[in-house]
C-alpha cells in the first residue's frame, strides 16, 4: 500500500516537472504564444515546475556576451536577479530562430544579436510574468493589480509565495496579446553596471565545453592537408611514411581535389601522420603571385579608372579638385589578415538514428545544416546541431561556403558514416587556410578651398569582394558594387561635397571572408586619416574640423557629434600634453553604433612608440549590460590595434609566408596601457557592440603617431617604419 501511494506521488510530480512547465515564445507567424496555445512554438523562456527560469538563447556565444545579454532581458521583465536565470542554447531551426536582420537565416553576425532580440525576449518575459500574476490572482481571489513579482516570488498585501506554486496554473492560461513591458525608468537589471557574466564560472575553472573538447565513444580525428597555394588541386599523394605513426588509420583524397583527409585515433597522431605525407599538387589555376605584386596590382587599380561608381551619382570631382587651392593625395594599402581565433576551427559529426548530429561552436546553424544536408544527402531536419561554446570567431566560424563544415561532412562520409569524426584544424591550418580579410588599396584626392573647406573628394578602392557571387549576393551587391568593399566611405556621416567613390574588384583565388567589422576594418582608417590630413591642411583642430562636417543636423550626425565631444573631454584633448605624449582621434559608425576613440602615445615614431591610453566613447542605444559593452569596446580596440601594429598575411609565389603565432604575432598584455570606456546614456533601440570599436582604433593610433611626425598609410605600421616599444 505504501509503495503504491509513493509510486502515484512520484508519477504525479514527474508529470509536474516535465509536463507543466510554463513555456513562452513565438509561433511560426511571429505571434506571442505558449506551449499550450501553439504546437510549433519557438520557446524563448521556460519556467519549470520548480520555479527555475531558463532563457533559451538563439544566438551563439563566442565571447561577446550574448547569452548574458539575452538572459538580462528575461531577468528584467520577471524582476529576477540575473544570476537566477539559467541559459540554454537553442537547437538549429531557422523556422523557429531565424535572425530577422538576416532575412530569417539563423545566425549571429554583423553585431545583430541584441538589435534582433531586444523586444522579442522582453515580450516573452513580460508575458510569462503576466501569466504568473493571473494565476496567483485566481488562486488568491484578489485582483491582478494587487500582485507584484520579484526575486522569484509573487507578493500581495499579506501574502507571498514562490512562483513555482503557480507555474502549473499559469501554463494552462491563455497568453496575453500585448503584455505590458516595464518602463525603462523601472529597469533594475538592464543597464546595471554590476552584473556578472553567466559564463564566468565554467570558463574560469576549465569546465566550459568548446567544440575542441568534444570526445565521443569510438570517435576518430581527421585533419586535412590543403593546397599550399589557393586554387591548387591535388594530383597525387603517398602515405607510406605515415604508416609508421602509432595511431594513424588511413588517408583519403577529397573528391573535390581540395586536399587529403588524414584519419587517426587521436589528434597528435593525425597531425604527425599528415606531416609524413608526400603530396603532388596541380598549381595551373592557382594564385602564384607574391605580396609585392598583389600590392602593386591593387595600387595600379586605384590609380586607374574604376570598374564601378559606388555612389551612382556620376559626380565629377575633376573641376572641384582642379579649382581647389590645394589637393591632398594619399595611397593606402591594407594586407590580408587572418582571424586567428583562440580556438582553432573544429567540429564533430556523429551518426544518429535518423541522420547526424553536429557538435560545433556554431555561428550560422542554418548554413552548417544546409552544408551537411548537401554533402551527406540527408534532409536538413535530420541534422541536429549541438551548439557549444566557440573559442572566438571574429567572423571566421561562418563562411558562405561553410568550409569547415563541408570538410567535416566529407571526412565523416568518406569514413563510412557510421563513426563519430572530429575535424581539427591546427594553428598553421588557421593562419594559412584563407578566408582572410581581403587586401585592399585606396587612393584618395581631396580638394581644399581657401578657407580650408573640402571642395571635392575622389576616392578609389580596389580589393576582392566578400559577398559577390556568394549566398547573400542579392542582399549585398547592387549594380556590381559589393557593399562590404565601400561601406563606411560611400555612406560616410560627414557632409562631403562632390564625393566620388570608385570601386575595382580584385579577382584573386585567395579565399576571403568577413573579419571583425568587415569593410569598416579598412574604410574607417582611410576616412579618418584623410580627415586628419584635411584638418592639418586647413590648419584647424582635428576634432573641431570633424564636428564642422557633422553639423548637418541629421540624428546620426548629432549622435556622432555627442560621442566625439565626450571623447574630447574625457581624453583631455586640447590640454597641451606636458609629458610630450601625443593624441590621435578617430570616429566611425558601424552596425548602427557610434564610436569615437582617442589614442595617447609616448616615445618616438622611429624608435619606440608606446600606447599609453585609449579613451573610447560609445553610443549603442539602450545599454543592456554596461560591463559587457565596456568589455566589447576593450576587445575590439585590442583586436584592431594589434593587427594594425604588426599583422599581415604575406605571400611568396602564392604561398602564405606566416604559419603560427611567432610570425603572426598577436597583441600581447604589454602592448596597450589603459583603455577607458564611456557609454552615452540612450533610450534608442540597442545596437551591436561586438565590432564597432575596431574600426576607429587603428586610425586613432596612426593619427597619434602622425602627431609624432610619421604618417603611415601602408599597413601594418611596424612593417612601414613605426617601431613599437
Amino acid at each position: 500500500m505504501t509503495n503504491e501511494i509513493s509510486r502515484r506521488v512520484f508519477l504525479k510530480s514527474t508529470t509536474a516537472v516535465l509536463g507543466s512547465a510554463l513555456v513562452v515564445g513565438f509561433d511560426p507567424h511571429d505571434v506571442l504564444a505558449s506551449s499550450k496555445s501553439a504546437s510549433n512554438l519557438t520557446p524563448f523562456i521556460r519556467i519549470d515546475a520548480d520555479g527555475t527560469v531558463t532563457a533559451i538563447i538563439k544566438h551563439f556565444e563566442c565571447g561577446q556576451g550574448t547569452a548574458t545579454g539575452l538572459a538580462t532581458l528575461i531577468a528584467e521583465e520577471l524582476n529576477l536577479p540575473l544570476d537566477r536565470v539559467e541559459v540554454e542554447f537553442a537547437p538549429a531551426d531557422a523556422s523557429k530562430y531565424g535572425n530577422a536582420l538576416f532575412g530569417g537565416i539563423q545566425g549571429t553576425g554583423g553585431s545583430t544579436a541584441m538589435a534582433n532580440s531586444f523586444m522579442q525576449y522582453r515580450i516573452a518575459g513580460a508575458a510569462a510574468r503576466e501569466m504568473l500574476i493571473d494565476a496567483a490572482a485566481e488562486v488568491w481571489g484578489i485582483p491582478h493589480f494587487e500582485i507584484t513579482i520579484s526575486d522569484g516570488k509573487l507578493n500581495a498585501d499579506n501574502r507571498s509565495a514562490p512562483i513555482s506554486e503557480f507555474v502549473s496554473n499559469a501554463s494552462g492560461r491563455s497568453v496575453p496579446e500585448e503584455p505590458k513591458l516595464k518602463d525603462p525608468s523601472e529597469f533594475r537589471v538592464i543597464g546595471n553596471p554590476g552584473t556578472k557574466r553567466r559564463d564566468n564560472e565554467a570558463k574560469i575553472n576549465g569546465t566550459a565545453t568548446f567544440a575542441m573538447d568534444i570526445q565521443l565513444d569510438n570517435q576518430i580525428v581527421a585533419v586535412v592537408l590543403r593546397s599550399p597555394r589557393f586554387g591548387g588541386t591535388l594530383a597525387s599523394f603517398d602515405d607510406t611514411s605515415a604508416k609508421d605513426i602509432t595511431g594513424y588509420i588511413r588517408a583519403e583524397a577529397f573528391p573535390t581535389g581540395a586536399g587529403v583527409i588524414v584519419y587517426a585515433e587521436n589528434t597528435w597522431a593525425a597531425l604527425q601522420a599528415r606531416d609524413a605525407l608526400t603530396v603532388e599538387w596541380d598549381f595551373s589555376a592557382a594564385e602564384n603571385r607574391s605580396s609585392d605584386q598583389i600590392k602593386k596590382d591593387l595600387l595600379t587599380a586605384v590609380n586607374s579608372d574604376s570598374e564601378f561608381d559606388a555612389r551612382g551619382s556620376a559626380v565629377k570631382t575633376g573641376t572641384a579638385l582642379e579649382e581647389a587651392s590645394q589637393v591632398i593625395e594619399k595611397e593606402f594599402f591594407f594586407p590580408y589578415l587572418a582571424h586567428a581565433t583562440m580556438e582553432p576551427l573544429t567540429c564533430t559529426i556523429a551518426p544518429t538514428q535518423t541522420g547526424v548530429i553536429l557538435y560545433d561552436g556554431c555561428q550560422m546553424p542554418t548554413g552548417a545544416q544546409a552544408a551537411l544536408a548537401a554533402v551527406l544527402q540527408i534532409p536538413a531536419e535530420n541534422i541536429e546541431i549541438k551548439t557549444v561554446y566557440a573559442g572566438g570567431t571574429f567572423g571566421r566560424r561562418s563562411t558562405q561556403t561553410a568550409d569547415y563544415h563541408v570538410e567535416a561532412a566529407l571526412a565523416f562520409a568518406l569514413n563510412g558514416g557510421q563513426q563519430p569524426v572530429k575535424l581539427v584544424w591546427s594553428r598553421e591550418d588557421d593562419i594559412k587556410g584563407g578566408y582572410y580579410r581581403p587586401a585592399f588599396a585606396h587612393k584618395v584626392r581631396i580638394g581644399i578651398g581657401d578657407n580650408g573647406q573640402i571642395t571635392g573628394w575622389d576616392h578609389r578602392i580596389a580589393g576582392k569582394p566578400i559577398f559577390k557571387g556568394g549566398a547573400w549576393d542579392a542582399f549585398m551587391v547592387q549594380n556590381g558594387v559589393d557593399n562590404s568593399s565601400v561601406e563606411g566611405v560611400r555612406d560616410t556621416l560627414y557632409d562631403i561635397p562632390n564625393q566620388y567613390v570608385g570601386l575595382t574588384d580584385d579577382k584573386s583565388p585567395i579565399s576571403v571572408n568577413w573579419w571583425r567589422s568587415v569593410g569598416h576594418s579598412h574604410t574607417a582608417f582611410v576616412m579618418e586619416t584623410m580627415m586628419d590630413l584635411a584638418a592639418q591642411a586647413a590648419n584647424q583642430d582635428p576634432i573641431e574640423y570633424r564636428l564642422n562636417y557633422l553639423s548637418g543636423g541629421t540624428p546620426d550626425q548629432e549622435r556622432m557629434s555627442a560621442v566625439l565631444r565626450l571623447a574630447a573631454e574625457k581624453s583631455g584633448w586640447g590640454n597641451a600634453a606636458s609629458n610630450g605624449n601625443s593624441l590621435g582621434v578617430a570616429l566611425h559608425k558601424s552596425f548602427g553604433t557610434f564610436v569615437a576613440e582617442v589614442v595617447e602615445v609616448s616615445g618616438d615614431a622611429d624608435d619606440a612608440i608606446s600606447i599609453e591610453k585609449v579613451t573610447c566613447v560609445v553610443d549603442c542605444g539602450v545599454p543592456v549590460n554596461p560591463d559587457v559593452i565596456i568589455a566589447q569596446m576593450e576587445s575590439g580596440i585590442g583586436y584592431g590595434i594589434g593587427h594594425i601594429m604588426r599583422n599581415e598575411i604575406a605571400f611568396e609565389d602564392g604561398i602564405v609566408v606566416q604559419s603560427n603565432f611567432p610570425d603572426y604575432e598577436p597583441l600581447r598584455i604589454s602592448d596597450i596601457g589603459e583603455i577607458e570606456t564611456h557609454i552615452i546614456p540612450s533610450t534608442e533601440a540597442p545596437t551591436g557592440v561586438g565590432e564597432p570599436s575596431t574600426p576607429p582604433s587603428g586610425p586613432a593610433l596612426a593619427n597619434a603617431i602622425a602627431a609624432k611626425g610619421l604618417r603611415v598609410t601602408h599597413l601594418p605600421l611596424s612593417a612601414n617604419g613605426v617601431n613599437f616599444a
Partner: protein, 153 residues
C-alpha cells in the same frame, strides 16, 4: 608504451609513444579538456599546466622529460592562491570567449605563488606568453592585482 604519471594527485597510466606532448596525453588520453590547444609551439599559453608547481607549456613538454613529476591541470588546481584568482576573475568579468582563460589562470597562480604582490611590469612580463585574442588583457592585469589584494587580506 605504458607510461605512468602523477596528475592532479592521482597516479595514471597511459599507453602512448614517449615523445607525445603532455598536452595531447592530458586532452586525448586522460580527457582533461580544460587544458587547451592553441598553437602547439609554446607561443600562446593556452596549454599551461603546472609541473611541480611551475607553469609550463604542455604542448612542448614531453613525457620523457617529466618522469616522476607532479602535474596539475586547471581541473586539479586547489590552493588559497587559486581561490583568490578564481574570485578575482569572476568579480572583474575577465572572460569573453574563454578559450585561453584556463591557461591565463594557471599562469596567474604561478605568478602569485612566486611573487605575492607583483607590480604591473612584473605582471606584464610574467603573463606576456599568454595570448588572449579577445584582448581581455586590461582585466587580466587588474584581476591579478585584485587576487594579490585578496591574498594579503
Amino acid at each position: 608504451m605504458s607510461i605512468s604519471l602523477n596528475i592532479n594527485g592521482e597516479n595514471r597510466s597511459v599507453d602512448v609513444p614517449s615523445d607525445t606532448p603532455l598536452l595531447w596525453v592530458i586532452r586525448d588520453e586522460l580527457q582533461l579538456t580544460g587544458t587547451k590547444f592553441g598553437c602547439g609551439v609554446a607561443s600562446c599559453g593556452a596549454c599551461t599546466v603546472h609541473v611541480d608547481g611551475q607553469p609550463v607549456r604542455s604542448c612542448q613538454t614531453y613525457l620523457e622529460d617529466i618522469e616522476g613529476s607532479e602535474i596539475t591541470t586547471i581541473e586539479g588546481v586547489k590552493s588559497k592562491t587559486a581561490e583568490a584568482v578564481f574570485e578575482a576573475w569572476d568579480e572583474l568579468n575577465v572572460v569573453q570567449c574563454g578559450y585561453c582563460q584556463s591557461g591565463q589562470v594557471m599562469s596567474a597562480i604561478g605568478l602569485l605563488e612566486e611573487s605575492p604582490k607583483p607590480t604591473v611590469e612584473e605582471i606584464e612580463a610574467y603573463m606576456w606568453g599568454n595570448v588572449c585574442r579577445c584582448a581581455t588583457y586590461q582585466r587580466i592585469r587588474a584581476a591579478v592585482q585584485l587576487a594579490a589584494e585578496k591574498l594579503e587580506a
